[in-house]
């Protein structure tokens, strides 16, 4: 399974970190630092796999990373995952980001962390690969975005209507909740 997914830039600033096993805040920071240290000193023309570190508990783990422009995408996985498979998963992830943000860059990750997390949640769930089809992920994300927008609209609508329509509000709220349970 996937133990952790980290994204950081060339200077080691973490842009996204997702751990699928409980670690304390300090260890997480430590892991990010060490990973950056390991990854950043490697040349461009060496392989994308790193093995045998002691970082996330045990020699069983591998780091699989890819370097895109200013960002490093690092997946920490255990022995039950295929190296090349993960390498392609990173590719899929980045391409999906690219599709969702239209020409993704580091700033997108900074300003839309929530979105990135949503995309990641569609791909990887609890350390297991859930979905690898790019179109499928994009549709799910779009659906979520639509939902979000409709919520915003609803809220503003409610605000305009004011208190007169208490009853209606209740109705809407329940509707709102309903729509939520549907997306469950």
């Amino acid at each position: 399974m996937i133990k952790a997914i980290l994204i950081f830039n060339n200077h080691g600033k973490p842009r996204l970190s997702k751990f699928y096993q409980p670690y304390s805040e300090d260890t997480q920071q430590q892991i990010i630092r060490e990973t950056f240290h390991l990854v950043s000193k490697r040349d461009e023309n060496v392989c994308n796999f790193l093995e045998g570190g002691l970082l996330i508990g045990g020699s069983d783990n591998k780091l699989i990373y890819r370097h895109y422009a200013t960002l490093y995408f690092v997946f920490c996985v255990d022995s039950s995952e295929s190296e090349l498979g993960i390498l392609d998963l990173i590719q899929v992830f980045v391409e999906t980001l690219d599709k969702c943000f239209e020409n993704v860059c580091e700033l997108d990750l900074i300003f839309h962390v929530d979105k990135v997390h949503n995309i990641l949640a569609e791909m990887v769930m609890g350390g297991m690969v859930l979905e690898t089809n790019m179109n499928e992920i994009v549709t799910q994300i779009d659906a979520q975005n639509k939902l979000e927008k409709s919520e915003v609209r609803m809220e503003s609508a409610l605000g305009n209507e004011g208190r007169k329509h208490d009853h209606e509000l209740c109705m809407m709220c329940s509707f709102h909740r309903l729509s939520f349970s549907i997306t469950l």
């Binding site: 060496v46 796999f49 020699s59 190296e83 392609d88």
Partner: protein, 986 residues
């Protein structure tokens, strides 16, 4: 979305609450939700496997889901489960193969393609599962050959992902039962990997080669040149992988070169992990294939100086053992040692070089032991060098202890010893107590040269020292103390519990300290005490105080020798050296009277324990009457029993000879005495002839058929749990059966007669027919004996012909331990007669249900042999027995168990009252009711052979609050499951 959250970090206590909700979601119409639900369940499985065991069937359904995504999600689960237990899922191989065939054949919808490869991740997953399933199993492997061939063929090399699939394919091909054609193809693929210009593929190629190399070393020869290139590759990861590969192909011829390369790499790398790993490998290779002494010593020197203090402690230990025990050839040994000594002396000569502490320790031991082999240098010179090291500030105190020990060993060989005197002077005032003690030891030894020579003989390091680990020489002292009213020693854990229970006496009132006079066993066995002290010696608290003993333990080779020292101290009567506890000097003297050989560290441990014990006793027994003292004594005994078992395991592991093992030995011998008597009895029986025998077996059958009519009432079982001693020994005989010489007929009689007894005394299940054909029928039933589960198969010959060489075999199952009862292979089954086979079954680890498979072979008159297969289902309940304990013992045990599980169960209306609920539990689960207090109840049971589980329950209206505790982590969950079934079901 909530499902995603669930699968993140989730506390195990909450699982029961959400589980039903998620199970519902498995039936959801949207595939994405089903998929997420499956993964959430998988997560639960990871967190607490025993809580979700009943939904395995649903996983199977998920595997057959019409949507590929859900099926793919369920593969995660299966991969995990198959990894844990591949034999249980062999039947699914077919479906996995079909799925893979469909995927490879492009039967999936187009949107699963990735770079025109159909569902690559799915393929990878499937291939891995197949690899696990096919391991060492020809039959399952055969199913896979086709599809593997297909995927090897289909994978056109155009993209990374195809390489990934290919790699997995190769891996699978090599892990399953080999087939030459496939191997050939796979080898070709590896070639493509290794030769690929892409660095990632090269890496994988090397990895694949490492797998393969054990099966087929010639493949490495083909890629020789590539491997050599990789060795000089700029990427350290590639380099390391290559070294790993080389490590696998090392042999006596190429060792020098390979180790050379490894050392080069070692010197460059800085990562601790890599160093540890590599150093271990070099040391192993050097030991295995060393071409000559000089090379070996030099390599080890390099290893020690580079690996230094981070390396695994086994390495120096192994090295020293090798030096000490040597090979078969004595001159060879001497040369090796001489060389080692010389090389170390030269190393020590070098100025301003810092060696790692471990290396210095090794040096000092070798010099201490084998300096006498030197001709040109006198012991004095060696001592001078050691002294120089001792004065060095950068040397740690542990190393100094080693050094000092070496000096001590050299002293008797030296003639004049100014340096030794100076050394003694300096260290007798050292602040380090350990060093000071060693110095004192040395000082006193020097005063008595005779003794010293006998104590420290030359070149005797390998002779076995009999270390009396049980400290039996202290028995007398302990008994004396006990008779004077001292409290018996209690192990650390128990003391804490007692403290706890005294502090919280209000909270635990139900289990309380209501001292009844049960459990009084009088004199405590001294061996139990001393072993107990060993155990608590390991515990952190005492460990801190005993730096002395711990130090000595670290220095294994010195152990035996140091062991002599205290003896001498006692004789010279010099007590200045004895540590500043006045009590201990008394102990020393006492010890002296009974002493044979002993280990000083242990004496110190013991005496300290003793003191602690007495302190504790005085604090503990304030306010408790004499009666309770006795009571505690009894309890201490029961507890120490338990610990004794544990420590035994530990000691056999470390391979020490302990007198503690005599205890169970005598125990067994007494029982085997009984067995012999039994045999004698049987022999007399035998004389009565075969007719009698038939009658016996018929009799037992009769009983069986009787039992068919009456339903097994469990109450009766619990009433006969405390079986009579005679029966117990009878059981012992059945289990251990030491008398292999006894005639098989006698065995049969014993079988029949014991069956007679058992069926009358023990509860058993109905006779169930498991398989039959026109000639024979096999039926089985279980006998729930107190100490094991007996499964009896009775084979009846329905035909009018004699059956020859009938043989019943039970295939071993993973969770069971099966012991064959005597007399299982019968040469002849006579016409229309019935024969029985007995197996005693024990559970190795808890689980809900399992099957026992077996088959019977027989031969009819003049025909070929026939084989009939059958299986018997065993559930956890078959292995649960009531545990008869008193309330206060219950309280004690309750505190000592760490694993607990709580759950509320709604009862059906019919049994909403406590007594009826209790009765159901007692009957259906065979629990022993310890006590009922108000609306709470205490129950106890044990999983055979002896894993206790305690249950506390309380009734609120129609809700039953169950609370389990056990020493086994998984047992409570399984029991809870059973209880739930029982309580809710009825």
């Amino acid at each position: 979305m909530a499902l995603t959250v669930v699968s993140q970090i989730f506390p195990r206590e909450m699982i029961p609450a959400v589980l039903p909700l998620i199970e519902d979601k498995l039936q959801h119409s949207k595939e994405i939700i089903r998929r997420k639900a499956v993964l959430a369940l998988y997560k639960f499985h990871l967190i607490a496997p025993n809580q979700v065991q009943h939904i395995h069937i649903k996983f199977r359904k998920a595997l057959c889901d019409r949507d590929v995504g859900v099926m793919a999600a369920s593969l995660h689960i299966y991969f995990r489960m198959i990894k844990e237990n591949s034999s249980g899922y062999k039947d699914l191989t077919g479906s996995f193969v079909t799925i893979l065939k469909q995927v490879v054949g492009g039967k999936l919808p187009v949107d699963f393609n990735y770079h025109s490869v159909p569902a690559p991740w799915l393929q990878i997953q499937l291939l891995r599962i197949l690899g696990l399933l096919g391991k060492d199993d020809q039959r399952t492997s055969e199913l896979m050959y086709d599809v593997l061939d297909e995927s090897l063929r289909r994978a056109e090399l155009n993209h990374n992902v195809t390489y990934a699939i290919l790699f997995e394919c190769v891996h699978t091909v090599y892990s399953i039962y080999p087939k030459s054609e496939l191997l050939e193809k796979a080898a070709k693929c590896i070639g493509r990997f290794v030769l690929s210009p892409k660095i990632n593929l090269k890496y994988l190629g090397l990895k694949a080669l490492t797998y393969v190399i054990q099966q087929d070393p010639t493949l490495a020869l083909q890629h020789q040149m590539t491997i050599i290139e990789c060795l000089d590759h700029p990427d350290p990861i590639i380099k390391r992988e290559t070294l790993e590969l080389l490590y696998r192909i090392t042999n006596a011829q190429n060792i020098t070169v390979i180790v050379q390369k490894m050392l080069e790499y070692l010197q460059q790398s800085k990562e601790e992990y890599i160093i540890v790993n590599l150093v271990g490998k070099i040391a192993e290779l050097a030991e295995k294939y060393a071409p000559d002494n000089a090379w070996f010593i030099q390599t080890m020197n390099a290893v020690f100086s580079v690996g230094g203090d981070v390396m695994h402690p086994d390495i120096p230990n192994n090295f020293l053992r090798l030096l000490a025990e040597g090979f078969d050839d004595e001159t060879e040994n001497q040369q090796l040692r001489l060389y080692a000594v010389q090389s170390y002396l030269t190393l020590l000569d070098a100025e301003n070089v810092f060696y790692p502490q471990k290396f210095l320790q090794v040096m000092s031991w070798v010099l201490g032991e084998y300096s006498y082999l030197l001709d040109e240098e006198t012991p004095e010179e060696v001592i001078t060098k050691l002294y120089k090291l001792l004065m060095n500030d950068s040397v740690s105190s542990e190393t100094k202890a080693w050094l000092l020990a070496a000096v001590t060993k050299l002293t008797p060989q030296a003639h004049s010893s100014n340096i030794v005197e100076r050394l003694i002077q300096e260290f007798t005032i050292s602040l380090d107590t350990c060093m000071r003690q060693h110095a004192f030891e040395l000082k006193h030894l020097r005063e008595n040269v005779e003794l010293m020579k006998s104590l420290l003989p030359v070149d005797k390091s390998c002779e076995d020292m009999v270390v009396d680990a049980s400290l039996s020489f202290l028995d007398g002292f302990v008994a004396e103390e006990l008779s004077q009213g001292a409290a018996p020693y209690k192990p650390h854990h128990q003391r804490q519990e007692e403290k706890l229970s005294q502090e919280k006496v209000l909270n635990f009132e139900p289990y309380g300290l209501s001292f009844s006079s049960s459990g009084f066993t009088g004199r405590q066995s001294p061996a139990g005490i001393s072993l107990g002290s060993d155990i608590s010696g390991n515990s952190a608290e005492t460990g801190l105080k005993e730096t002395n003993s711990l130090k000595l333990e670290g220095i294994k080779k010195l152990w035996g020798k140091e062991g002599y020292l205290p003896k001498k101290e006692g004789k010279t009567g010099d007590e200045t050296e004895v540590p500043p506890v006045p009590q201990e000097s008394i102990i020393m003297e006492n010890v002296d009277q009974t002493i044979i050989k002993k280990d000083q560290s242990q004496v110190l441990t013991q005496s300290k324990e003793e003191k602690e014990k007495q302190l504790l006793a005085s604090s503990l027994f304030v306010g408790l009457g004499t009666e309770s003292t006795i009571n505690l004594l009894g309890k201490a005994d029961t507890v120490s029993h338990k610990f004794r078992r544990k420590s035994k395991v530990k000691e056999t592991k470390s391979g020490e000879t302990t007198s503690a093992q005599n205890m169970p030995c005598s125990y067994f011998s007494s029982s085997s005495d009984v067995t012999y008597e039994d045999d004698y009895y049987l022999d007399t029986l035998q004389d009565r002839g075969d007719k009698e025998l038939n009658k016996f077996s018929l009799n037992s059958e009769l009983l069986d058929s009787e039992s068919l009519t009456e339903l097994p009432s469990v109450e009766k079982l619990s009433s006969c749990t405390l079986s009579t001693p005679s029966l117990f020994t009878d059981d012992m005989e059945g289990l251990h059966s030491p008398s292999s010489t006894a005639a098989s007929v006698a065995n049969e009689i014993s079988l029949a007669s014991s069956l007679l007894e058992e069926t009358s005394e023990h509860m058993h299940s109905d006779l169930v027919e498991v398989c039959n054909n026109e000639t024979i029928s096999v039926s089985s039933y279980k006998i729930w004996k107190d100490d094991c589960l007996l499964v009896v198969w009775s084979v009846s010959n329905k035909s009018g012909l004699e059956l020859k060489s009938a043989d019943l075999e039970i295939s071993s199952a993973e969770n069971f331990k099966i012991t064959e009862q005597p007399g299982c292979c019968l040469p002849v089954i006579e016409t229309e007669s019935i024969k029985t086979f007995q197996y005693s079954v024990q559970m190795e680890k808890p689980f809900t249900e399992g099957n026992l498979f077996g088959f019977i072979n027989y031969q009819m008159m003049d025909t070929h042999s026939v084989q009939l297969e059958f299986s018997v289902n065993l559930s956890l309940l078959d292995f649960i027995r009531p545990l008869k304990i008193s309330t206060e013992n219950f309280g004690k045990l309750w505190l000592s168990f760490a694993n607990d599980v709580k759950q509320n169960v709604k009862m059906s209306e019919s049994q909403a009252a406590l007594p009826s609920a209790l009765k159901t539990l007692q009957q259906k689960l065979r629990l022993h009711v310890v006590e009922i207090i108000g609306n709470e109840g205490l129950l106890a049971c044990q999983l055979l052979p002896s894993v206790p589980c305690l249950l506390h329950f309380r009734v609120h209206g129609d809700v039953l609050a169950l609370w389990f505790r056990s020493s086994c982590s998984t047992l409570p969950d399984y029991l809870l499951y059973q209880c739930q079934k029982v309580v809710e079901g009825s």
